[in-house]
């Protein structure tokens, strides 16, 4: 019951007119960026990160919540209408969703997606409200060895599970961890990798890395192909965005199954909602094959409902893991963690004790964001697609200017702009050659935690490495990591053999 009381207090602080306005602004901006082709929620959060520092922490995080979920809603809207998913998590929605749209059932597809995302997100948020405090209590006894195991888990799982090549994932991770070591070493005060440049004593700013890798690199990547790729046909969306009773009955079990599949993945640092969306799509397809008249391939409503619910369920519980453990499972969550750190807040066990008002207001704003998003997405999905009328040159020129604005506004130094450009080129190369970006982001954000806990553990044990296997929690984490890796290898082998058929 304690959680409920705290949540009610959270609602009362989140429901002030100003904070409601930030939720609304966040949802609108998130949806707008998500709708634009090729841009996903991580881009939205990256671009807005510098600008939100003009706000107080509570308002900023409430807005972030809106942007994060809004980006996912907008993303699936475009995945359905134009077959252009902005993030990997929307790919599974394109298969059946885009077919529904081509069939002239675009409004129904959008409604299915919006309701699915709503259900998944809501269930996840409820779960987070009740479980996150317990999780935070549990992790309060974590020592250096436990935190190191947790960070290692996140590193290996993201870099090997998400990418189709483990080498590329690990390479991205090493760059991220390396970037995080630049600056003055907190233990010894030694100057690391700054080569006397005072601009680098504090390390490379997370904002610079985030904007460079997720926003500027994307702009370069799109520039590299935009004059050559053919344009997709557009699909008109008109008509009633409401589902008939039969359609709801058809989609309901898929929504439920998708949510159930998505929930646990938020806590597993396996790169966010990409994997659960594909798993739930696959589950629905298998179930569909056993039915009398299979609908998959012809625009099956279930093939869209399940991944949408799964994706948002994962996003929801991922926020719980972020708050309670300080563990980001996706690039977007990593940026949120960076934002917390910029405000001097460290997500994790102590956050619930130290700033309960912020945590509960943020949790309450998840619910508000879900409702707001359902309202602005269900009836107005057609309007959102009007954003596509902005000519691409002006759209991306504007985004580039915003990248420069954000970084210059927070650092006030030309040095950071040059760093932004350099890292942006690295981000472009990574995209061009299929190197995943999430491991780099997670490496940059969790790198300091991994290094400090590793050195803390070794210092206290006088250099004895067995300290990392001391105690049940690290051992359980390593065992889990092993299972995740075994599953990854297995599913990769299975996929490979299936493709040959």
């Amino acid at each position: 019951m304690d959680s409920l009381n705290m949540l009610m207090e959270g609602f009362s602080s989140a429901l002030t007119p100003m904070n409601l306005l930030w939720v609304l602004v966040g949802c609108l901006l998130g949806t707008a960026v998500g709708v634009l082709p090729g841009l996903g929620s991580s881009m939205a959060v990256a671009l807005l990160l510098p600008i939100t520092f003009a706000l107080d922490p509570t308002a900023a995080f409430i807005m972030f919540a809106g942007v994060y979920f809004g980006g996912m809603f907008g993303d699936s809207t475009m995945a359905i209408l134009m077959n252009t998913p902005g993030q990997a998590s929307a790919i599974a929605s394109t298969f059946e969703g885009h077919k529904m749209a081509k069939d002239g059932r675009a409004p129904q597809a959008l409604a299915t997606a919006a309701i699915g995302a709503f259900i998944g997100g809501m269930v996840a948020s409820v779960l987070v409200v009740f479980l996150a405090p317990a999780l935070a209590d549990f992790s309060a006894n974590f020592g250096p060895a436990e935190f190191f195991a947790l960070a290692l888990f996140a590193f290996v799982a993201t870099s090997s599970v998400v990418s189709d090549s483990a080498v590329k994932g690990l390479a991205a991770l090493v760059i991220g961890l390396g970037i995080a070591t630049v600056g003055i070493d907190p233990f010894s005060g030694a100057e690391r990798f700054s080569f006397g440049a005072p601009e680098m004593f504090d390390g490379i700013s997370l904002i610079t890395v985030t904007v460079a890798i997720l926003a500027l690199g994307e702009v370069f990547h799109i520039a590299s192909r935009i004059r050559r790729d053919r344009t997709d046909q557009r699909i008109r969306s008109a008509g009633r965005p409401f589902l008939s009773r039969a359609e709801i009955k058809e989609a309901a079990p898929a929504w439920a199954r998708g949510t159930a599949i998505g929930l646990p993945f938020g806590v597993i640092p396996a790169g966010g909602s990409e994997i659960p969306t594909f798993i739930s799509y696959d589950v629905e397809r298998r179930i569909d094959r056993r039915r009398r008249n299979p609908k998959f391939g012809k625009g099956a409503i279930r093939g869209l409902a399940a991944p949408e619910a799964a994706g948002n369920a994962t996003t929801g519980t991922a926020m719980g893991a972020l708050l309670a453990l300080g563990l980001p499972v996706s690039a977007t969550a990593a940026i949120m963690l960076a934002a917390f750190q910029q405000y001097g807040l460290q997500p994790g066990p102590l956050l619930f004790d130290r700033s309960p008002d912020l945590v509960w207001a943020l949790l309450a704003s998840f619910f508000i964001a879900m409702v707001v998003l359902l309202i602005i997405n269900l009836p107005f999905a057609g309007l959102w697609s009007k954003l596509l009328l902005i000519p691409a040159p002006y759209l991306y020129a504007g985004i580039t200017v915003f990248c420069g604005l954000g970084v210059y506004a927070t650092s006030g130094a030309v040095f950071d702009l040059l760093m932004l450009l350099g890292l942006g080129m690295v981000g472009f190369l990574m995209r061009r050659h299929g190197m995943p970006l999430a491991p780099l982001m997670i490496g940059v954000v969790l790198g300091p935690l991994a290094e400090t806990s590793m050195r803390d553990a070794l210092l206290s044990s006088n250099g004895d490495y067995s300290v990392f296997f001391d105690g049940p929690i690290p051992l359980v984490l390593y065992a889990l990591l092993f299972i995740v890796l075994a599953f990854t290898v297995r599913s990769k082998v299975v996929n490979r053999t299936r493709q040959d058929v």
């Binding site: 003009a54 590193f155 189709d164 090493v174 961890l177 990798f193 590299s224 040159p393 991306y396 030309v414």
Partner: protein
């Protein structure tokens, strides 16, 4: 506790041609050895980064009384892992080049449209170098114009006015409205 490298080589082999299951494994006829191997650039980036770490570790000044593990310990692991991964990446691209699927009707020499990328990146460089002298309005308009051109806009004169309008609007909203510190530059005297 080993670094997570050992699990990787066997996975790298599963990669070629896996992307979206498209038949993109075949090289277009009459291309050089380098075709499909531009991914070696990634390897180069890794080598450069590891070397940066190596030089940093070698030149780092650490106090005498620092206990193990000192400030060089963690970066040292990363450096070694970086070199190993660079070698594995190089091996991967040498053994199995990745040919992206060309979706446009025409065939180009490079998959990447470098002129577009250079317009965007060059515009950004110009922006970074001139921002504090020319001021936000002019530098940002320049950036906007260059990127728009790189993305294929073919109305340079209209773009100039639109870019100036855009950068001025941002200046009004963020520098005057929200109080962000944007340089006014050569236009600054009047305001």
């Amino acid at each position: 506790m080993s670094t997570p490298v050992p699990s990787s080589p066997d996975m790298a082999e599963q990669h070629p041609g896996e992307k979206a299951g498209l038949p993109d494994g075949q090289p277009p006829a009459g291309t050089s050895w380098w075709s499909g191997r531009s991914g070696l650039l990634l390897s180069l980036v890794m080598v450069a980064f590891s070397t940066y770490l190596l030089i940093g570790i070698l030149t780092m000044e650490v106090g005498e009384d620092t206990d193990f593990p000192g400030p060089k310990f963690f970066p040292g692991i990363l450096m070694v892992a970086g070199y190993v991964l660079a070698a594995l990446l190089a091996l991967h691209y040498v053994r199995s080049p990745e040919h992206p699927t060309e979706t446009s009707a025409q065939r180009y020499r490079t998959f990447t449209d470098w002129s577009a990328v250079l317009w965007a990146a060059g515009g950004f460089l110009l922006f970074a170098l001139t921002l504090e002298k020319l001021g936000w309005i002019i530098a940002a308009a320049l950036l906007f114009w260059c990127v728009a051109r790189g993305f294929g806009s073919r109305r340079p004169l209209f773009d100039v006015s639109f870019a100036l309008l855009f950068s001025s609007a941002i200046y009004l909203a963020f520098a005057i409205g929200l109080g962000l510190n944007l340089p006014s530059g050569i236009l600054g005297g009047g305001f």
